[in-house]
């Protein structure tokens, strides 16, 4: 694999080994990570705690050095500070100088990009408005709530109008409004043509937002692709809800009925889980019995299920390796 500037992010055989404790005990953070993030896509990086998500991000933005391997941002080696000129980064639980106000903070970060003058001031005002901090822009950050700090963090990540935004757990600990704001920013930036690379434990957000998803477990990329590619198109079951007149028996097995409730109009509301082959027959029976179909929804594998499978596979491989060694 050659490194190319066709990708926003490209890593090849990226390794990170941490040494800890007095005896320099080795801990592998990343194991030969080969990853590509295309320009203009929203890429979700998912995995359990300690899987290597933050390590990857920290290597990309220059907070950690890789033990081995290569990484480029828009074709520029990640160790070159110039590679960060077009990058915006929001770390997990961002910490800022508490004595500064949001406006001063943005001015400081703007100057780190060699910005200044009226262009910087205009950008600051625009971002403060965008993250809804207008009323608090001149208060010191020590008086901010967690959600407000996260918004200030988002603003600093956007100060240089980046082409690539790297967000580490941007929704962690936020209330629904805060999460919505982050989602909106991601969508707006994607519209602008920006690439977004983010990690999250909130898988429903990942499912909704991402063009592609990478699953990382124990430092290894276990799967990568769009939601469709990861979870497949196969319909597992079909969940259905319908009302039938009380006393009518559809001949359904007891285990397929998830709940049953009598209604005031003399009917019964049934929630059932059916396999694909049953659906048309059951629905015909419901309508034949004078019932009403309320909802029919196919259920597919969730990202959570896929992730759990990948974690299981990784654990299985480790135990097999251990048995092999023993």
């Amino acid at each position: 694999m050659t490194m190319s500037n066709d990708f926003a992010i490209q890593t090849k055989g990226l390794n990170k080994v941490y040494l800890s404790g007095f005896w320099n005990r080795k801990f592998v953070g990343l194991k030969g990570l080969d990853l590509t993030v295309n320009r203009g896509e929203v890429f979700g990086f998912v995995g359990p705690n300690g899987a290597g998500k933050t390590t990857t991000m920290k290597i990309l933005v220059g907070l950690h050095s890789a033990t081995k391997g290569e990484a480029t941002i828009f074709g520029i080696d990640h160790r070159n500070p110039e590679s960060k000129r077009s990058v915006g980064f929001l770390p997990e639980r961002p910490y800022f100088y508490s004595h500064l106000s949001a406006r001063e903070l943005l001015r400081f970060y703007g100057r780190l990009f060699n910005m200044g003058g009226s262009a910087l001031e205009a950008r600051i005002n625009e971002l403060i408005e965008r993250v809804d901090l207008v009323k608090f822009a001149d208060l010191p950050l020590r008086s901010y709530s967690k959600g407000m700090l996260q918004r200030a963090g988002i603003a600093q990540a956007l100060i240089n109008s980046p082409e690539l935004i790297i967000l580490d757990e941007p929704m962690s600990g936020l209330d629904p409004m805060g999460r919505k704001l982050i989602r909106d920013v991601i969508f707006e930036e994607r519209e602008r043509g920006c690439t977004i690379f983010f990690s999250s434990h909130i898988l429903t957000d990942v499912e909704q937002i991402c063009d592609r998803i990478g699953l990382i477990v124990r430092g290894e990329l276990r799967a990568v692709g769009s939601m469709e590619q990861l979870i497949g198109d196969d319909v597992k079951d079909v969940e259905a809800t319908f009302d039938i007149p009380t006393g009518k028996d559809l001949g359904l097995k007891q285990e397929s009925i998830t709940s049953k409730r009598d209604r005031d109009d003399g009917s019964q509301r049934l929630h059932v889980t059916l396999n694909k082959g049953q659906v048309s027959n059951v629905l015909r029976d419901v309508l034949g019995a004078g019932g009403t179909v309320i909802r029919v929804e196919p259920t597919k594998k969730s990202l959570e299920t896929v992730l759990a499978e990948k974690i299981g596979e990784a654990q299985q491989e480790i135990s097999e390796t251990t048995i092999g060694v023993l």
Binding site: K58, V61, G62, L63, H64, S65, P81, E82, S83, K84, R85, V87, F89, P91, R93, P94, Y95, F96, Y97, H99, L100, F108, Y109, R111, L112, F113, N114, G116, G153, Q156
Partner: protein
């Protein structure tokens, strides 16, 4: 340059909000003003005693400020994780280190200027205008504080403030005893001790080179060649220590 100044001015603003700075300056002022009281318990040249004590206070408290602020300079950024959003910007790490250092130099300049102003007013009111050597001694002290801060910054790049403070105090103490270490070493019969003292003398800083308090107290002139030599030594040595700090900081991960 703009980026270095941004980090320096932020460091300056952050440091001058540090309460410990005001506490130390407060005690320094008390001691400088309190030096007048020494007149009452001194026989002989009372003016010299006042000058000596005030000069000593400026030197001691200046060093304390350089040490205490210097050892936390980089470590605080790592501990509070404010480094994450700075190191992820297009900033070479040497700019960050030099920016932090420059910011603290500005604080030291302000602190020294305040104490110098107090000293000048005090002397003016009692003994007339201070001798020119007093002002030169302060410039030399500023160079000493610059070197001490560079050492503290170097230690701050890889160790916690307590350890960094311990190392910095050791360097400061040894640096002030450099000449004595040399002399004691030369008088020792053991070749090992002689060689060790020579190594310590040549490798570690000689802070006494910057000490012009005697000239300031006794109102003796300081030659330009002496000042030039000290300045060359101070700037050169500081550059070496800062280079080491940049190398150490450049190779570390931010956890």
């Amino acid at each position: 340059m703009n980026r270095l100044l941004a980090i320096a001015s932020n460091t300056f603003r952050e440091t001058i909000r540090d309460k410990i700075l005001y506490s130390i300056i407060f005690f320094a002022c008390i001691v400088i003003l309190g030096s007048v009281a020494m007149e009452e318990v001194t026989i002989g040249d009372q003016d010299k005693v006042v000058r000596s004590m005030a000069q000593g206070a400026i030197r001691l408290f200046g060093s304390v400020i350089a040490l205490f602020l210097g050892v936390g300079l980089v470590y605080k950024e790592l501990e509070r994780k404010t480094i994450y959003t700075i190191a992820s910007k297009p900033i070479p790490r040497w700019i960050f280190v030099l920016g932090k250092y420059t910011g603290l130099l500005w604080v030291l300049a302000l602190e020294l200027a305040l104490m110098a102003l107090l000293y000048t007013v005090l002397m003016w009111s009692r003994q007339g205008a201070p001798h020119s050597s007093v002002y030169i001694s302060w410039v030399m002290l500023y160079m000493e504080l610059g070197l001490l801060t560079a050492w503290a910054l170097l230690f701050s790049c890889y160790s916690a403030p307590t350890t960094a403070a311990l190392f910095s105090i050791s360097i400061w103490t040894i640096g002030h005893l450099a000449d004595d270490i040399w002399h004691f070493g030369q008088e020792a019969s053991s070749i090992t001790i002689q060689k060790t003292s020579e190594v310590i003398y040549w490798i570690l800083p000689n802070f006494e080179m910057f000490n012009a308090s005697a000239a300031a107290v006794h109102e003796l002139p300081l030659t330009l060649s002496h000042f030039g030599g000290v300045a060359l030594y101070g700037i050169g040595y500081t550059a070496v220590v800062l280079t080491l700090a940049v190398i150490v900081f450049g190779n570390r991960d931010f956890k």
